[in-house]
């Protein structure tokens, strides 16, 4: 049986892991390669590096981080942030990423999903989505870090993503993100029922049973969290041990 995956996400700026991406006073909290090694020791099933650097120089440093990690950590690595073109995808894969996560750019240019999947294979194209509830069982897709509503129906979008050849969806709930009140079960359930590709749950994890709940109540095959692991509130190992105790298959 396929194991449910626990995925820590590292936000990286100018070569450092940072916390508090959307707030003022972002603090550097450490060396991303060391974080990656530590999460690997804890049993992380994959790692996501998210580039929040806006500059050209920062991009080079970011890719160096990916390159160094790929020499030491032998689990799948996903790179998100700053992927706008097929060349950006190629560059990330060459640095050692196994997958890229495209978000805003995929909404503005869906052809990027198809081109990426055709050239590099569906397995390395993950589409990241930020979505927010607008009515009962209805959600719309936002871009630019959840700031711009595209008036695009979430369920229509995920079906389109699947058609275009994406290998995976990482679904972040704007409503749940940062609340620590648990994953957005209703939205995840709706998306998992609409598509037949793997869905990663993102946004809202605040305590250990949020992870078992998302696996028990939705078809999500993986759960992602950032600050919970950064702040050492929980380790990946603790989350997996707890899920295992609930009869959920984990590695």
């Amino acid at each position: 049986m396929l194991a449910k995956r626990i995925i820590p996400c590292l936000d990286v700026r100018n070569g450092k892991v940072v916390k508090g991406v959307n707030f003022e006073g972002i603090k550097d909290v450490g060396d991303p390669v060391e974080y990656a090694e530590e999460y690997n020791r804890q049993g992380a099933d994959e790692l996501v590096f998210y580039d929040i650097t806006a500059s050209f120089e920062g991009r080079g440093v970011f890719l160096d981080v990916v390159r160094e990690t790929a020499k030491k950590v032998f689990v799948p690595l996903t790179v998100g942030g700053g992927i706008k073109t097929v060349d950006d995808i190629r560059e990330a894969l060459r640095a050692g990423a196994d997958k890229v996560s495209v978000n805003s750019q995929a909404v503005q240019n869906p052809q990027l999903i198809k081109d990426g999947a055709d050239i590099f294979g569906s397995q390395c194209i993950c589409v990241g989505i930020d979505a927010k509830k607008i009515a009962d069982k209805k959600w719309t897709v936002y871009i630019n870090g959840g700031r711009v509503d595209m008036n695009l129906d979430l369920i229509d979008w995920v079906k389109q993503i699947e058609q275009l050849g994406a290998g995976e969806i990482c679904l972040n709930s704007i409503d749940a993100d940062g609340t620590k009140a648990g994953f957005d079960i209703e939205m995840l359930d709706a998306v998992c029922k609409a598509v037949n590709i793997p869905v990663i749950a993102s946004g809202g994890a605040g305590k250990i049973d949020d992870f078992s709940e998302v696996f028990e109540k939705t078809g999500a095959t993986a759960a992602l969290a950032a600050s919970l692991f950064h702040f050492k509130e929980l380790t990946v190992g603790e989350v997996k041990e707890y899920c295992r105790g609930k009869g959920i298959i984990v590695r």
């Binding site: 049986m1 194991a3 799948p76 590709i197 793997p198």
Partner: protein, 201 residues
């Protein structure tokens, strides 16, 4: 020296990184002489069966690979494992390398999430040297949408995903194929690569 065959399909750097980490000497190459002089061969690959076979054919390496794979340890990884078989049916029927009898078909069991992506447990069917020293509860990382169909005798280990998915295949001689990515399967994967290196005489 292990020759990692570079024919334009896939993330060969990951394989190279893992071999470097293990201190196993390797070389990325598309040269006939390197393949002939190597102590062992690894055929990586991601993407589609027909385009990968097309690239292999254009590289002019097919006959060399077929001959050398029977002389020294050979490991196909992911698509490289699928290419080991006689035929593939991804988009169209396509000849493979034919090193192990069997074919590669779409996974299409009902309600199955495709691709088969993530960590799955290895179930040993026929023990083989690459599995030496592994825990009973060993998980490896898969990402694929097609699977091999072959005789049980060639399956060293499988995983359960909508039925049996051949995970590690073996011809009983020098030819091995891993549907999963040992270079992305943590300690378990590194152990399998180390075991492969240990086959070099």
């Amino acid at each position: 020296m292990i020759a990692v065959i570079d024919y334009g399909a896939g993330n060969i750097f990951s394989v190279k990184n893992a071999l470097d980490y293990l201190g196993m000497e390797s070389k990325l190459t598309n040269k006939k002489e390197d393949i002939e002089s190597a102590d062992a061969l690894i055929l990586p690959g991601v993407g589609a069966f027909p385009s990968a076979m097309d690239m292999l054919n254009k590289s002019g390496l097919v006959d060399t690979i077929k001959t050398e794979a029977k002389k020294k340890p050979f490991l196909g990884i992911c698509l490289g494992m699928q290419l080991i078989f006689e035929k593939g049916y991804e988009f169209e029927e396509c000849d493979g390398l034919g090193l192990i009898p069997g074919s590669v078909k779409k996974m299409e069991e009902e309600n199955l999430i495709i691709p088969h992506m993530g960590w799955n447990k290895l179930e040993v069917l026929n023990d083989c040297p690459l599995l030496a020293g592994l825990d009973e509860n060993s998980f490896v990382y898969f990402v694929h949408s097609y699977k091999a169909e072959c005789d049980d005798k060639n399956i060293a280990a499988y995983s359960n995903y909508g039925g049996r998915v051949p995970a590690l295949v073996y011809d009983g001689g020098t030819v091995y194929g891993a549907q999963f990515h040992p270079e992305k399967s943590g300690e378990t994967g590194l152990k399998i690569l180390k075991n492969f290196g240990g086959l070099i005489r």
